[in-house]
């Protein structure tokens, strides 16, 4: 399998000029895929699906390519190839076209190849005869398109913040319990959220799956402290509430009464590693994040586990 690590980039160099000159061409009935008249054409629509498996999440639906004016355009045109994001549709350059590309831009070595782009406007079916653009691709442009689309549909969930003492109850009808200074706070992300998410984009027989995997959580505890953890360990009843979390905790030393609203804002940000594979290629993209916050009251006096007859005070 060809492995590439690259950022997906679309260059909109030609698009603006092309689409402003493409105004008054007559529609052509043999236009193979006009996505304005036939938006359900499979070649116009990227199908988004959750490939299933244990990952959970994902989404289903459809998406498509759009020009700079936001109009739907085909991602793939059988005679011209894949949309390059720049007003041109690309397929591998061969023969005279390859010669022309190499004459201007030089030879390129595998795994990258010259592609030839037909530049124009499929909506008005305006294809200036001589207007071509050559581009060098390592991954087929359709694979790049689908990878971008799959990543866009990952629907990475916001962190479900869990704390002990329970200031962020799962059941919203339950009352939030305040934190107490010098009593260890346990912090973790609900396991429902802490799982890989995947989405698959497919079109014209080509399919790319993107996977988002949670790697770290950055906690801002609202009192000026920040800590980075994994998912954290859930506190369960039976564990000594005065014991610190083995891997993700905090100890407040200053009560929150002087903070805005008398509460600190606890923020958790999950960093998701993003990878994709399909169409004979795979790659890693820049990480994504998702964030959530909860207000947390921190009290000064130990308000729990004290009894008049306890003898520990």
């Amino acid at each position: 399998m060809l492995r590439t690590r690259r950022r997906l980039m679309t260059v909109g160099l030609l698009a603006t000029t092309l689409l402003t000159i493409a105004v008054s061409a007559s529609a052509d009935v043999i236009d193979p895929v006009n996505c304005v008249t036939d938006p359900t054409n499979p070649a116009c629509v990227i199908q988004i699906g959750d490939p299933g498996g244990g990952g959970g999440g994902g989404s289903s639906g459809s998406s498509g390519c759009r020009n700079e004016q936001g109009q739907a355009i085909p991602c793939f045109i059988p005679s011209k190839g894949w949309y390059g994001g720049d007003g041109c549709w690309y397929k591998r350059a061969q023969g005279a076209e390859l010669d022309a590309a190499e004459a201007l831009g030089g030879k390129v070595d595998p795994p990258v190849y010259w592609y030839v782009g037909s530049c124009g406007d499929p909506i008005t079916n305006f294809w200036p005869a001589n207007l071509v653009r050559f581009r060098v691709y390592g991954v087929e442009p359709g694979v790049e398109l689908l990878a971008q689309d799959a990543i866009r549909h990952l629907n990475l969930p916001r962190p479900a913040i869990r704390l002990n003492p329970d200031s962020s109850p799962t059941d919203p009808t339950r009352r939030a319990v305040p934190q107490v200074v010098f009593v260890p706070t346990w912090m973790w992300i609900d396991p429902v959220v802490w799982a890989p998410r995947s989405a698959t984009a497919s079109i014209a027989g080509l399919s790319v799956t993107a996977v988002g995997t949670p790697t770290t959580v950055t906690w801002s505890t609202g009192d000026g402290h920040t800590t980075t953890c994994g998912k954290g360990t859930p506190w369960t009843s039976g564990i000594d509430p005065k014991a610190p979390s083995p891997d993700c905790g905090h100890v407040y030393t200053v009560p929150s009464r002087n903070a805005a609203g008398g509460k600190y804002t606890v923020t958790a940000t999950i960093t998701w590693r993003v990878t994709w594979s399909g169409g004979g290629a795979s790659g890693t993209e820049p990480a994504l994040t998702s964030t959530a916050s909860v207000p947390v009251q921190v009290l000064e006096a130990p308000a729990v586990n004290t009894r008049p007859a306890g003898g520990d005070r």
Partner: protein, 123 residues
């Protein structure tokens, strides 16, 4: 073009003849502006950049025809110092993502018409 720029900044000379030999338009203006600032601040460049350009696109229908390049320019072995030897602290160099458009003016004559060079650590 970068070779001409490196030679120019060692003097430093915003009117270094090779600048206009290898660049024009926006690219040349940017180089001249940068070198003028260096000159006015009494600075001079040292060291050399490492280049590894590759072609990303070719536009045969533009006038003149153009080729687009990308590069990862390594500036870690370069620095700016005061020409008179007084202390000056510049920011450390490193690998910078870069792209450029090169126009074929005539057979065998190419000039950079525009370029963009991004921050340290972008490639």
């Amino acid at each position: 073009m970068w070779q001409a720029y490196i030679e120019a900044i060692r003097i430093p000379d915003p009117n270094y003849p090779d600048l206009a030999r290898y660049s024009q338009a926006d690219a040349l203006n940017l180089l001249v502006r940068g070198l003028t600032t260096v000159q006015q601040q009494g600075l001079v460049g040292q060291g050399d950049v490492t280049l590894n350009p590759s072609v990303t696109a070719a536009n045969p229908n533009t006038s003149p025809p153009t080729v687009e390049l990308k590069d990862c320019v390594d500036t870690s072995k370069t620095r700016l110092v005061k020409k008179d030897g007084s202390p000056y602290q510049d920011t450390p160099g490193g690998k910078r993502s870069a792209k450029a458009t090169v126009a074929r003016i005539s057979d065998g004559v190419w000039k950079v018409t525009e370029f963009a060079i991004f921050g340290v650590g972008t490639c």
